[in-house]
């Protein structure tokens, strides 16, 4: 119901209009105009954003290096069908986030905190802060790898990442932030360009869809690959980000259909670009690919240059810079949303830094801390980057369970609660993620303490 509609005996007075409301209302006026004049493509253009950003943001530096590493070590089998399946799982989770955000106009962090208590809210925020900090460090490392191809160092990676965060925050509008990051995110397609440039055999790619068994290696390696590949497609920050961004964008239940298109488009694009990184990496399978350290030196871009030419190496290197940069922006934003929501203060790109100090400080602060870590001499960046996705997978099930609980909460969601099929899929995703993450964590620990052999 719009703010000026009558309720009961008289006309309900609208609440006072804040600057944040005014900015959001401007964006909504364009949506209403497009809908009223049946301008379908314009409407889609206005409503896409959070879904594509969550999915392409998760095609981040560590994920793309992980896909390339999978291809270089094991070839295309198993992973070609696995990546689209995992993004299908991501769609199930992210659609719920979008729907809850559009119906309640509130972020995930504040809903968990208010609805289920402060303990669960702060646990969620703690998980997010830990995984986000580790992942942000890995993003800066990925940018450094991409830039190393052009003979540029860590200092440039840090300056680039921080400059982007400050630039995108400078406008004081959600719409501006979203469009800039969306424009950058489309360059994730550089991984597809790299895949085309290595001239892959189409028949080999098609035959990989026959669910080839795991190509070799130990049980622990299989678990690590599964855990890190899951962590490359569904993570806690995506849940916080998409729900909060959908609310910040001003989406309403009327927009849910377009929100689904947005999320599905993001999943399809992320899946295609992820396969691009895998295929590019697979070009190195018989050329010493398993020996490449993805997070060290110029890693895969340099190796691709030697095998497939400078253009392939350049596309992959620029892709890594883009993937890291976009993820820094979206992951910092998810930290900022969570901080503002849990503290209970203004948390919107539509608010000014003066009115939303916690939001802006958390956004810039999280990027600053991660940037500082990669400048520490001798910091174990390689290990941090390798473990970022695994840690996210291990902590994910709790966030997902609260997501399913929120999406089933009739009092919050009314007629937009989960259907039976969504619940079945959601629970299957939680079980799969939980089992893979826990199996890897326990198996690795038992090996570390010498209770089982490797």
């Amino acid at each position: 119901m719009s703010a000026t509609e009558a309720t009961g005996a008289g006309v309900a007075l609208p609440p006072p209009l804040t600057a944040e409301d005014a900015a959001r209302s401007h964006d909504r006026s364009r949506v209403h105009h497009a809908r009223a004049h049946s301008r379908r493509w314009r409407l889609l253009w206005l409503l896409v954003g959070p879904g594509i950003l969550a999915m392409l943001g998760e095609n981040d530096g560590p994920s793309m290096i992980a896909y390339a590493s999978d291809g270089a070590q094991y070839g295309l089998g198993l992973f070609v069908p696995l990546i689209p399946i995992l993004f299908g799982m991501a769609f199930v989770c992210q659609e719920m986030c979008m729907r809850v955000g559009a119906v309640t106009h509130r972020g995930y962090g504040e809903l968990v905190l208010q609805r289920y208590g402060r303990v669960w809210g702060w646990f969620g925020a703690g998980d997010l802060t830990l995984t986000n900090l580790v992942t942000l460090v890995a993003e800066f490392v990925a940018i450094r790898v991409g830039l190393a191809y052009f003979h540029l160092g860590s200092g440039v990676a840090v300056a680039l990442g921080l400059a982007l965060v400050l630039f995108t925050l400078s406008g004081g509008r959600y719409w501006r932030w979203e469009r800039i990051v969306l424009g950058l995110a489309l360059f994730n397609g550089l991984f597809l360009v790299a895949a085309i440039l290595v001239k892959p055999d189409i028949g080999t790619i098609a035959s990989a869809f026959d669910f080839t068994p795991f190509p070799g290696g130990s049980f622990n390696t299989l678990l690590l690959l599964l855990a890190s590949t899951i962590g490359a497609t569904v993570t806690p920050w995506m849940i916080f980000f998409q729900q909060s961004a959908s609310a910040d964008k001003g989406m309403t239940p009327v927009d849910i259909r377009h929100g689904r298109y947005d999320t599905a488009t993001g999943a399809v694009l992320a899946s295609i670009f992820g396969l691009g990184a895998l295929i590019a990496g697979a070009a190195l399978l018989t050329r010493g690919g398993s020996a490449i350290q993805g997070f060290d030196g110029a890693g895969f871009p340099q190796a691709l240059k030697q095998v497939a030419g400078g253009a392939a190496g350049t596309a992959f290197a620029l892709g890594l810079v883009e993937a890291g940069a976009v993820a820094i922006l979206t992951i910092s934003a998810s930290t900022a949303y969570a901080a503002g929501e849990c503290v209970g203060v203004s948390h919107s790109f539509n608010s000014s830094p003066r009115n939303a100090a916690v939001f802006y400080v958390a956004n810039i602060g999280s990027a600053l801390v991660a940037a500082a870590v990669i400048l520490i001499p001798g910091a174990p960046l390689l290990s941090i980057a390798l473990n970022a996705n695994v840690l996210a997978t291990v902590l994910l099930p709790v966030s997902l369970i609260f997501m399913v609980m929120l999406a089933n909460d009739k009092r919050l969601m009314g007629p937009w609660v989960n259907g039976r099929s969504t619940n079945t899929l959601g629970i299957a995703v939680i079980a799969f993620v939980g089992i893979c993450g826990a199996a890897y964590g326990i198996d690795s620990f038992l090996q570390s303490v010498g209770l089982i052999g490797s």
């Binding site: 000026t4 006072p16 409301d21 208010q114 609805r115």
Partner: protein, 85 residues
């Protein structure tokens, strides 16, 4: 009645040109308000939602999962430091 006119007291005579500006501003704010749903306003979203009642079984299951996840996370962190050495 507009949001502006509710919050502003009019005192004394206002010059005609200033009154037109005020009316234009009021119309502008009214139009803006029309594009938001009532529960989208900052004032509405800053009100907390009611606390849900979780049964003992659900609460116990959530705590069990939380403890399990923390234990597995500690295992991953231990393995991380073990691999460093």
């Amino acid at each position: 009645m507009s949001a502006r006119s509710r919050s502003t007291e009019t005192t004394g005579r206002v010059p005609a040109i200033a009154e037109r500006d005020v009316q234009r501003q009021e119309r502008f704010e009214d139009e803006l308000i029309m594009h938001l749903e009532r529960d989208q306003f900052v004032e509405e979203t800053s009100r907390p939602v009611a606390r849900a009642e979780l049964g003992i079984a659900v609460t116990s299951a959530l705590w069990a999962l939380r403890i399990f996840v923390v234990l597995v996370s500690l295992m991953v962190i231990y393995t991380f430091f073990h691999q460093l050495h």
